[in-house]
């Protein structure tokens, strides 16, 4: 015994084994406890409940749904709702963020102050408070009869935002998107193949010209018969008919995430723009580039590369922040899961699905952003942060 404890090495191994067994014991106790308390409530474990129909309603869905849908479909809808909210919020936040980053790095001190005031206002108030604030305002807007209108095409009322949509089949939109993505992947392959020759640029130009035309043709062929091409929201009786409706919950959350995220992303972009070494910009001046070209060809490309890691981080954070939507009743993944837990009692299984969902989202964001990062990295040039 003395010799075992005598050597540093064996003491370390013993210590690790003890820690490991304590952790294992904890996990086993938790599982046993859970089993016992579930049995006490006579609940069965397992994922069989996913095929049962839910029988409850929720506020918003991107797909058509009914209350007789199964748990698995309802959860999928929640997941898609989260993705939609995240996509809209993060896209707008990025646009605002880039603008704010540019404003804050402006040489004009007064103009830069505008960006500072924006960032400090929206960054220092909790997101959840902002979401509730916008929701209170939107849901108290006038009824559809007195809706605020923008040229009689877009209407804002207490029931949400109404805007016109094209009467085309859903599959064609997916096809257009697919076409676009294939084209984006085809370009780098073509560049390798044609070895940057002038014929590559000709093909590229023609492609960019043909792409919108092809999309228009697809859209025209996929028209839903016997309907006008553009579906306009029209006031009929007490509510709007036609068009697309963005409910107040979604509108408020998108506004809140865009403004809050915009403040954070603005700071990220500012740091990125400031991190570009002065020598690079001065070299541009020496070569006689105009200020705009120095910005678009030197400063912005280098800044984008510098911000990629922190931008990825911000996107993941904003995606996680969408869960606060439950406070104003937006049926995102978290709300669907917590309602399911209340209704079915399958606590642990549903929690596992929730965690898996967020793991999937986070890993996808990280994967996409890292791929972009690798793709645009300049060989032999490292931006210091």
């Amino acid at each position: 015994m003395g010799s075992i404890l005598g050597s540093q090495k064996s003491r370390e191994i013993l210590f690790q084994a003890v820690v490991l067994s304590i952790v294992a014991a904890l996990l086993v106790t938790m599982v046993v406890n859970t089993r016992a308390s579930l049995e006490a409530q006579s609940l069965t474990t397992g994922f069989g409940f996913l095929e049962r129909s839910t029988g409850w309603d929720f506020s918003f869905s991107v797909l058509p749904y009914s209350i007789s849908d199964s748990y698995s479909k309802t959860i999928l809808i929640g997941f898609l709702n989260t993705l939609l909210l995240g996509f809209l919020g993060i896209s707008l936040a990025t646009l605002i963020g880039v603008a704010v980053g540019l404003i804050r790095t402006s040489k004009n001190g007064l103009f830069a102050l505008l960006g500072t005031v924006y960032v400090e206002t929206f960054r220092n108030v909790p997101l959840i408070l902002q979401a509730i604030f916008w929701y209170s305002i939107i849901s108290r807007l006038p009824r559809p009869k007195q809706a605020l209108s923008l040229g009689d095409t877009v209407f804002l009322s207490g029931r949400g935002l109404y805007f016109p949509v094209f009467n085309i089949a859903l599959w064609s939109v997916a096809l257009m998107l697919l076409l676009f993505i294939v084209w984006l992947f085809f370009l780098p392959w073509l560049r390798e193949r044609l070895n940057h020759s002038s014929s590559y640029h000709v093909v590229k130009r023609i492609g960019w010209l043909l792409l919108p035309i092809a999309m228009l043709v697809i859209g025209y062929l996929a028209r839903i018969p016997d309907t006008p091409l553009l579906d306009m929201p029209v006031l009929k009786g007490l509510n709007f008919k036609g068009g697309m409706r963005m409910p107040p919950e979604l509108s408020a959350l998108v506004i809140a995430i865009a403004l809050y995220g915009g403040a954070y992303i603005g700071e990220v972009f500012r740091a990125g723009l400031m991190s570009v070494p002065r020598g690079q910009i001065e070299a541009g001046f020496v070569n006689g580039l105009k200020p705009f070209h120095i910005f678009s060809r030197i400063r912005l490309p280098l800044a984008i590369r510098a911000v990629m890691p922190s931008l990825t981080n911000q996107y993941v954070q904003l995606m996680k922040a969408t869960t606060i939507g439950i406070v104003i009743g937006f049926s995102d993944l978290f709300m669907i899961i917590s309602t399911s837990i209340n209704q079915s009692g399958q606590t642990l299984e549903l929690l596992a699905i929730l965690m898996l969902g967020f793991l999937l989202i986070n890993l996808s964001i990280a994967f996409v952003m890292n791929s972009i990062n690798r793709k645009i990295a300049i060989k032999g040039y490292e931006v210091k942060d």
């Binding site: 490991l20 106790t29 505008l114 997101l127 408070l129 108290r140 996680k320 439950i326 406070v327």
Partner: protein, 359 residues
């Protein structure tokens, strides 16, 4: 160095600086004027709404409709709900003093004189115990008020303080564990930290509030408030641990090796060499984590606690006050803003100061 060679670089005069910044070209002048007009418009509008055309007293509420400005009557009438929640009316002074004690503690810990493990932990334990004693009562003839009846700003501050007190030591343990030389320990701590960091805070709070009763044996469950605080503290510690780890990694390895050659034990090297430098290295991000945590305390409203956001919603929830929600939200936002803005300015000040120190 003689006077002849010592010459200050030429300084741009103040007016010249303004000219360069605002009026360097016609286009820039136009931009400055447009921004100035925009600023003046916003400021005039806001001052008019908030101060000039506003109504201040609860009794004057009938005048609000015509006034066209903010109706601060709602705050005058309902501020006790916002600040104290369901705390018994005649004991509100206890909640006020408790908040004042905790805020003093937070401000005091920003002063460098307190920056040693012994002083900081004494300060926080003293502040926290005073806060708890005042709020909970049961000693010195104070009546007992259980946490279910705490609310408003006091609950927000309590959650923030408790999360900091539990989370900070835990974060040090997690950071050291993840950097351990023993592979099993390092892996375990790494897994733990990454798992909690990959989840939204709300999921963790929800698990702590609703699901832990299934998982833990009865004697370990405790009150719902304490479960949520522990869950929040673990979440906080996992983020803070990564900040501390970044600080630890920035220390040159020669520092630790010097400790080894002097024959210092592991604990001595950690407390005397590693941690002081790690905290100095990552102080701005550590302060920033506190800033984020203060804002995130608002999320506990979703799992059913009556902190300042929920009590604010209750403040305009009844009778004639329902139309004055904007005033209440602006008021609460201002309270958050004061806390978060001053903390984040302090973080920025530290960052500047430390950068100068590094030369």
């Amino acid at each position: 160095m003689t006077d002849a060679t010592y010459k200050l670089p030429p300084q741009t005069p103040f007016l010249r600086k303004i000219q360069n910044s605002l009026f360097s070209s016609p286009l820039n002048t136009l931009l400055s004027i447009a921004t100035a007009v925009f600023f003046i418009f916003i400021i005039v509008k806001f001052v008019d709404w908030a101060f000039l055309s506003s109504i201040w007293h609860a009794e004057d509420e009938p005048l609000c409709k015509e006034a066209g400005g903010a109706c601060w009557s709602v705050i005058d009438a309902r501020h006790r709900i916002i600040f104290f929640g369901l705390f018994p009316y005649e004991e509100h002074w206890r909640s006020t003093v408790a908040c004042a004690v905790m805020i003093t503690t937070i401000v005091a810990s920003c002063i460098p004189w307190f920056w040693s493990a012994a002083k900081l932990s004494t300060l926080w334990l003293l502040g926290f115990c005073t806060f708890y004693l005042l709020m909970h009562g049961g000693l010195f003839g104070l009546s007992v008020i259980t946490p279910e009846r705490w609310g408003g700003l006091a609950l927000t501050i309590f959650i923030f303080a408790a999360v900091s007190i539990i989370g900070m030591p835990l974060s040090i343990v997690l950071a050291l564990g993840r950097r351990s030389k023993l592979p099993v320990i390092a892996r375990l701590f790494g897994l733990f930290i990454d798992f909690f960091r990959s989840l939204p805070l709300l999921t963790i709070l929800f698990t702590a509030a609703v699901i832990t009763p299934f998982v833990l044996p009865g004697w370990l469950q405790g009150d719902k408030l304490y479960r949520v605080i522990v869950g929040f503290a673990i979440f906080f510690a996992c983020y803070q641990a990564e900040n501390i780890r970044a600080g630890l990694q920035a220390i040159p390895s020669g520092q630790d090796e010097a400790g080894l050659t002097l024959g210092l034990k592991y604990m001595q090297r950690v407390t005397r060499i590693q941690l002081p430098q790690a905290f100095r290295n990552s102080l701005p991000s550590i302060v920033n984590q506190f800033v984020i945590t203060f804002k995130e305390t608002s999320i506990v409203t979703i799992v059913g606690f009556f902190e300042i956001l929920a009590s604010g919603s209750a403040a305009f929830g009844t009778g004639k006050w329902t139309v004055y929600y904007i005033e209440v939200y602006v008021f609460i936002a201002t309270i958050y803003f004061i806390f978060v803005f001053s903390l984040s300015r302090y973080g920025a000040y530290l960052e500047r100061k430390l950068r100068v120190g590094h030369g």
